[in-house]
Each structure stands twice: as structure tokens, then as C-alpha cells.
């Protein structure tokens, strides 16, 4: 087999893995948009906030330590204990549910019935506010996140592909774990929305929230639930990306990676987010591999958007999005 073809296969596999990580971020957007029609600009910051909270809890860091010390003249920074990863994840999840409640109680509840652009602007405000709160709570320094996920080359794949192609493929163990977790997450989300009472209520709200209200579905409860689930997805994305690079404020920028995925997959489809992520991941990696050197490299960021725009021309609602027909 030609060497370049073997390399392209390795690039494709890595593109698929990268696509899963993009899809993890995109899922959070889809969940909230599907249930409430809000494009949640704060989704990337939620991933950052979740990851910072997780590390803070694991390390026994005192939240708002700088503020407390500045006000009371104390020097407290840590509780002096560390919390196991699994317990810390559960506690972080509780914090994300609390955040969802606060967002609903103090922001979204007051904006029911407003234009989508108003709701979008509210989430921009929320993003900046949340970033500031995260900074105040946990500080700005880079934190190492280790919840026991494996990292580095998968030796089995390396050796197996070497025996077949005389070239060992590089696949990161973390990417494999992320793929498995993403698959479980999607199955769980689909099962939840199809087979549970709350899931069906969520879909009813998504279809027509006034009709849902008329049959006794609590809009407040559903929205808190949806923001909580989006918070959970943000936590998973934050763990994956944070394990790779340490937890730091740049994490919020992973939202940029989700936008072309949403444009391509559609804003309302969970499978669309996954398929969109995979297409973007593979597309940008293969393009960089094939034409990147001739174009000076660093093509991935813009190529993802070009790819999404091409799809938009032919299918404005995205691959799996719902077609909106408005009649006069």
C-alpha cells in the first residue's frame, strides 16, 4: 500500500477522534437550543467553569479565597484535603445543577417570550459573568487535571497497524476514551429524550412551549433540567479538553470548534452534532494533510468553516436540522 495512503488512514482516524471531541462541545449547544430555542453562547465558558470547579474541589481549594483574604485579611487558600475524582465529579455536577437553577431563576425566567436575539445577548452576558466568577472562585493559574484518564499512544493499535502496514498508527488513548464516553452520552441522551417522562416533556417544550404549558408541563422545571444536562455535557467536555492541556481560561474558546459542527449538523439534532463533528474532524485533518503544506499550513480553523458553509448552501438547516417553513 502506498505510504501516503497509509498516512491518510492514520490522519482520518485521528480526525474522527478529534471530531468526537468537537461534538462533545456541540452537544451542549444542541440540547439547550432544542429545548428552548436559545443559542447558548456561554456553553464554552460552562465547560471551563465545570473543569475549574472539578479541579478546585479535587485539590481542596477554598473558593473565592482571594476575595475572602482581601476582605478579612486572612491567608486561607486550601482546606488541606483532596477529594477523589469520582466524588469530585458528582459534587461538580451538583454545582452545575445549581448554576442551571440560578440561570433559569435570575436570567431566563425574566426573558420568556422575548426575541431569540435578546436571549442570545443574555447568554453573551452570562458567558462574561461566568468567566469572571470562575476567576474569582478558583484563580487564573493553569491547573493540572488528572481524573485517571489514560493519555499517550495506544500501543496495541501501534503494534497491530505496524504488522499490517509496516507503519504504526498513532491514536491517543485519551481520544479513545473520549469516543467511548461520547457514544455512551449520546445513547443516554437519546434514551432519556425518547423513553422517559421528563425527556418526552422536554421534546414537547421544544416543539411548542405554549402547548406544553397547556397540558401541565412546568416550563421552569424543564429548562432547569435542560441547562443541568448541558452543564453535565460541559463537564464531560471540560474534563476531556482540560486533561489534554491543563485547565485554563483558553478552554472557553473550544466553543469556536463547535460552531462549524453545529452549522453542518444542525442546531436541533443530537446525532447531527456527532455526525457533524466527525465530518469536520476528518475534513479539516485530511485537508491539512493533503494541501496544508502547499498552502502554508494552519488551514484547520478556516477550512472547518468553509466546509460548513458549503453544506449550508445546499442544506441551510444543516444535515439533520429541522426544515423551517414559514407561510404568510
Amino acid at each position: 500500500m502506498p505510504e501516503q495512503l497509509v498516512f491518510a488512514m492514520e490522519v482520518t482516524l485521528n480526525g474522527l477522534m478529534a471530531g468526537v471531541l468537537y461534538a462533545l462541545v456541540a452537544l451542549g449547544f444542541v440540547l439547550i437550543y432544542k429545548a428552548s430555542g436559545i443559542f447558548n453562547y456561554a456553553q464554552g465558558v460552562m465547560a471551563l467553569f465545570a473543569a475549574m470547579t472539578l479541579v478546585g474541589i479535587m485539590n481542596g481549594q477554598v473558593p473565592f479565597a482571594h476575595l475572602i483574604n482581601a476582605i478579612f485579611g486572612t491567608h486561607v487558600h486550601e482546606f488541606g484535603w483532596s477529594v477523589p475524582g469520582f466524588v469530585a465529579i458528582l459534587l461538580t455536577l451538583a454545582v452545575m445543577v445549581l448554576l442551571a437553577w440560578a440561570v433559569q431563576r435570575f436570567v431566563m425566567r425574566h426573558l420568556v417570550g422575548q426575541e431569540p436575539i435578546i436571549l442570545f445577548m443574555a447568554t453573551i452576558g452570562l458567558a462574561f459573568f461566568l468567566e469572571g466568577v470562575a476567576d474569582l472562585m478558583w484563580g487564573s493559574e493553569i491547573k493540572t487535571l488528572d481524573v485517571g484518564l489514560p493519555q499517550g499512544i495506544n500501543l496495541w493499535i501501534d503494534e497491530t497497524t505496524f504488522q499490517i502496514f509496516d507503519y504504526g498508527f498513532f491514536i491517543d488513548n485519551l481520544d479513545i476514551v473520549a469516543t467511548l464516553i461520547a457514544a455512551l452520552l449520546v445513547i443516554a441522551l437519546v434514551a432519556f429524550s425518547q423513553y422517559t417522562k421528563q425527556g418526552r416533556a422536554m421534546r414537547a417544550v421544544a416543539d411548542d412551549h405554549q402547548a406544553a404549558l397547556s397540558v401541565g408541563i412546568s416550563l421552569n422545571f424543564i429548562w432547569v433540567m435542560v441547562w443541568s444536562v448541558a452543564g453535565f455535557v460541559a463537564l464531560v467536555a471540560g474534563i476531556m479538553w482540560g486533561t489534554k492541556s491543563g485547565v485554563q481560561f483558553s478552554l472557553s474558546l473550544i466553543a469556536l470548534k463547535a460552531l462549524p459542527v453545529l452549522m453542518l449538523g444542525g442546531f436541533t439534532s443530537i446525532p447531527g452534532a456527532i455526525v457533524g463533528g466527525l465530518i469536520i474532524g476528518v475534513g479539516e485533518k485530511l485537508f491539512e494533510f493533503a494541501l496544508g503544506p502547499a498552502l502554508g499550513g494552519a488551514t484547520e480553523n478556516w477550512f472547518a468553516y468553509v466546509l460548513a458553509l458549503i453544506f449550508l448552501v445546499f442544506r441551510p438547516q444543516g444535515l439533520f436540522g429541522e426544515k423551517i417553513i414559514e407561510r404568510v
Binding site: F7, E10, V11, N14, A18, H66, N69, G73, H77, E131, G132, D135, G139, S140, E141, I142, T144, L145, D146, Q151, G152, I153, F170, D172, W241, K244, S245, G246, Q248, F249, S250, L251, S252, L253, I254, K257, K285, E288, F289, G292, G296, G297, A298, E300, N301
Partner: protein, 427 residues
């Protein structure tokens, strides 16, 4: 009645106006945003040194120092806003710790007559004082960094890099592209092959670049990153099991937080430097006594001795020494920005002077002149040891390729002078 009103107005004006007797140093910091991890320790070191001088010595030459901190978030527009809002306070020197902000400030500071010091960053050709009257980038610039990296590789290859391959993984921005010209010139001179691998900002996703490195197996990789790009690059290098001792970063890719997320696998990674390591210097005893123990630290007080803290400390020390030089030159203690510029142009940093400051060996010896605003460009190399969590010095400050760099500086600064109708000075 009129007299009373006039007195009241004058009193109010005096109370509201800036205290002109202070030595005003703006600190264009970034304690928030994606690059805060690097901005915080630098700013802490910068502020703490001036606090030390105020607390221990009563300022410089009896004049208290007033640091005005302004948050830029590493955002160029905000950086310019900070400059505009602070320059009227009598600002003596700006050090924005951002190449993007530097490029915007160069024409402004030149017009306003305020000096700009971009230590180890900014526009490299600003080292030519004949063209850039108000910009200084001593003791080392990006091209010294590129040459320093190649010199180190020459050292470990018995002076021969013919047939070797070097990949430059760089931030796809004005900052990241700075070393390319120098490395291309050096590749012609020494016969190594250079591969350029740009990474788009912020640099969270570098899989393509590192897969290419794994396929092509360059002998050495040079990293020119900032922010999250550094941590991801070190992690990806560890993932593909690239030999860390063959991986060398510029000084902005060589802080503790750049390597710590990769854990033990980061051991062996190298970085360039122009400042000392750790806190084993007498100045730290004074910092602990007058600043930390007195509860007057700029930050949490937990960054002392860290790479970027030391760099901020060093930048402040150079500013303070330039103020002293200006005070001596002009025979006044309350100096103006123009006098400060003169002081910077006549600055001389000797080992004896650094020893007197409790910072012996903290940086290279150098002197600045009208023609040379960049100093001698001496560069050292450090190596990370994850088991102890420390950087270790493996090469003292050494000269870089003045012949290649000098020619490039002259070429670039001449083009800038022609574009902006600048006549050369220092005749």
C-alpha cells in the same frame, strides 16, 4: 468671595490632579483571559520589585514610585486604551508584554516621547536605535532567541548541523512568525533543513502538526508558542514519544505551567532564557522581609521564584536602573519621560551592579547605546526536571549570531524608516 472660590477651585484641582512628584510606571498587565497564566506572575514580579524599592529605599533617589496597573487581557485594543488613559499621568516607560500591543504603541510612543521597553518580545528590528528612538528591546530579542536555539543545537552536535532537520512549531501570528527569517538565514548558513509548522491561535488542537512530526521525524523541534499552545505542544510531544531533550522552546514557552500539565513525560524539555532561575538570590530575602511578610505583594505571593515572576522582577529592575541613570545624567530626581529615554539609552548593567542589587548572575551583562537598543543578545538554556519540579541551567548566557541578526535588523529597520520617513539619528 471670588478669592474664596478661586482658592477652593485651586485646592480641588491640586487634590484631583496627579501627584507629579511620583515616578509613574504603568503596568499594562493581563490578569484575566486566556493568557492570564503568563501575565499574572510577570505582573506580580514587576509590581513587587517597585514595592520593595518604595518600602526599603523610599523609592528611587528619594522619589516614590507609583505603579498604575491597567488590565489589557492581552487584547491589543485594550492595551492601546490603557496607554492612552495612563500616559497623561507622567508615565516614564511602558512594558506591555505583548507583541501585538507593542506594534500599535511604537508610533504612539515615538510621537509622545515616551520610552517603550519590550524585553524579549515586540518588533525585533527596534534594536536599531538609529531608527527606533523610543523603543528598546534589551537584553535579547526574538532573533537572538532563534539564533540561541540553533547555537545550542550546534553545541550538542559538535558544531555541525549539516543534513539535520529542524521543525519550527509556531503560533500563527506576528509573534510566532518573528523567528522564521532568522532560522531561514541560519539554515542556509549551517546547512540544516527547516520545516515550518504553524498552529492557529489559541493552539488547543495540534494533532495534525504532531502527526507530521511523527511521520517526518525531525531531529529537533523548536517551539514558539504562548498560552495554551505551549501546554498542548508539550503534551502532544510526550504523546508521540518525541525525545524531550530534542525539543526546545523560546523563553515564552519555558515556564513551569507550560510543562507541569504533561507530568513526568515533560522531563528533558528545554527552553531558552535571559533571566535567572529560582529564588536563591539575596534580593529575595528583602522581598520576603519588606513585601511578602508585610502583606504588600501584588498577587497572592505564591509566584516568587517562578520563571515569569523572575522575568517581571528583572524587567522592573532594568526600569529602576534606567531611572537611576537618568537621575544621575540630568541631576534631578523627578525625571520626565524624555529623561527616562536618555537613561535607558545610557543604561549599563554590570555584574558588580547586579551583585549590589542582590541579583548577581540574574541576567547577562550589557550596555545600551544610541545605535544599539537591543543589547548583546546573550541567551542561556534551561531544562525541565519533573521529578523535582524545577528548571535547571544547562547553558550560561552565550552570544548569538550577530552577523546574521545584525544584517536582518538593518534590513527591516531600513524598510520601516523608509515607510515612515524617519531619518537616522546617532550621527
Amino acid at each position: 468671595m471670588n478669592k474664596t472660590l478661586a482658592t477652593m477651585a485651586l485646592s480641588a484641582l491640586m487634590a484631583a490632579g496627579p501627584a507629579m512628584a511620583d515616578l509613574v510606571i504603568p503596568d499594562l498587565s493581563y490578569r484575566t483571559g486566556p493568557f492570564a497564566a503568563g501575565g499574572i506572575p510577570f505582573s506580580d514580579g514587576y509590581n513587587d520589585y517597585f514595592t520593595l524599592l518604595n518600602e526599603r529605599d523610599g523609592g528611587i533617589g528619594g522619589e516614590p514610585i507609583r505603579v498604575i496597573e491597567c488590565e489589557t487581557g492581552y487584547n491589543t485594543e485594550k492595551g492601546v486604551e490603557c496607554y492612552e488613559s495612563t500616559k497623561g499621568e507622567g508615565a516614564l516607560v511602558y512594558q506591555p508584554l505583548s507583541t501585538g500591543i507593542t506594534y500599535q504603541l511604537i508610533p504612539k510612543v515615538t510621537a509622545d516621547g515616551i520610552p517603550l521597553h519590550t524585553m524579549g518580545y515586540g518588533r525585533t528590528s527596534a534594536a536599531n536605535g538609529k531608527v527606533f528612538s523610543n523603543v528598546f528591546n534589551y537584553p535579547a530579542n526574538y532573533w537572538n532567541g532563534a539564533s540561541g536555539a540553533v547555537n545550542h543545537l550546534l553545541d550538542i552536535n559538535d558544531g555541525d548541523l549539516k543534513g539535520k532537520t529542524i521543525a519550527l512549531v509556531y503560533h500563527n501570528s506576528a509573534y510566532g512568525k518573528e523567528p522564521i527569517r532568522t532560522l531561514e538565514a541560519l539554515s542556509e548558513k549551517y546547512g540544516f533543513e527547516l520545516t515550518l509548522l504553524p498552529v492557529d491561535s489559541p493552539g488547543q488542537e495540534q494533532k495534525s502538526q504532531w502527526l507530521q512530526i511523527r511521520r517526518e521525524k525531525p531531529d529537533y523541534v523548536v517551539l514558539w508558542g504562548w498560552g495554551i499552545m505551549n501546554q498542548v505542544a508539550v503534551q502532544e510531544a510526550a504523546n508521540i514519544r518525541y525525545p524531550m531533550e530534542n525539543f526546545i522552546g523560546v523563553w515564552w514557552s519555558g515556564a513551569e505551567f507550560d510543562v507541569e500539565p504533561a507530568g513526568d513525560k515533560a522531563t528533558g524539555y528545554k527552553a531558552l532564557t535571559f533571566t535567572g532561575l529560582g529564588d536563591d538570590y539575596p534580593v529575595y530575602d528583602d522581598l520576603k522581609k519588606y513585601v511578602v511578610d508585610a502583606g504588600k505583594t501584588a498577587g497572592a505571593g505564591d509566584q516568587l521564584g517562578a520563571v515569569q515572576y523572575n522575568r517581571g522582577l528583572y524587567a522592573a529592575m532594568l526600569a529602576a536602573e534606567a531611572i537611576k541613570t537618568a537621575q544621575e545624567m540630568h541631576g534631578v530626581t523627578d525625571i520626565t519621560p524624555a529623561m527616562m529615554r536618555d537613561g535607558m539609552e545610557a543604561l549599563e548593567i554590570t555584574n558588580a551592579k547586579m551583585e549590589g542589587l542582590g541579583m548577581a548572575g540574574f541576567g547577562p551583562e550589557f550596555s545600551v547605546s544610541c545605535e544599539n537598543h537591543g543589547g548583546p543578545g546573550l541567551v542561556g538554556v534551561v531544562q525541565w526536571d519533573a521529578s523535582t519540579g524545577t528548571w535547571n541551567n544547562i547553558q550560561d548566557f552565550k552570544p548569538t549570531d550577530g552577523e546574521v541578526i545584525g544584517a536582518l535588523i538593518n534590513e527591516d529597520s531600513a524598510a520601516y524608516a523608509a515607510e515612515n520617513n524617519i531619518s537616522e539619528r546617532c550621527e
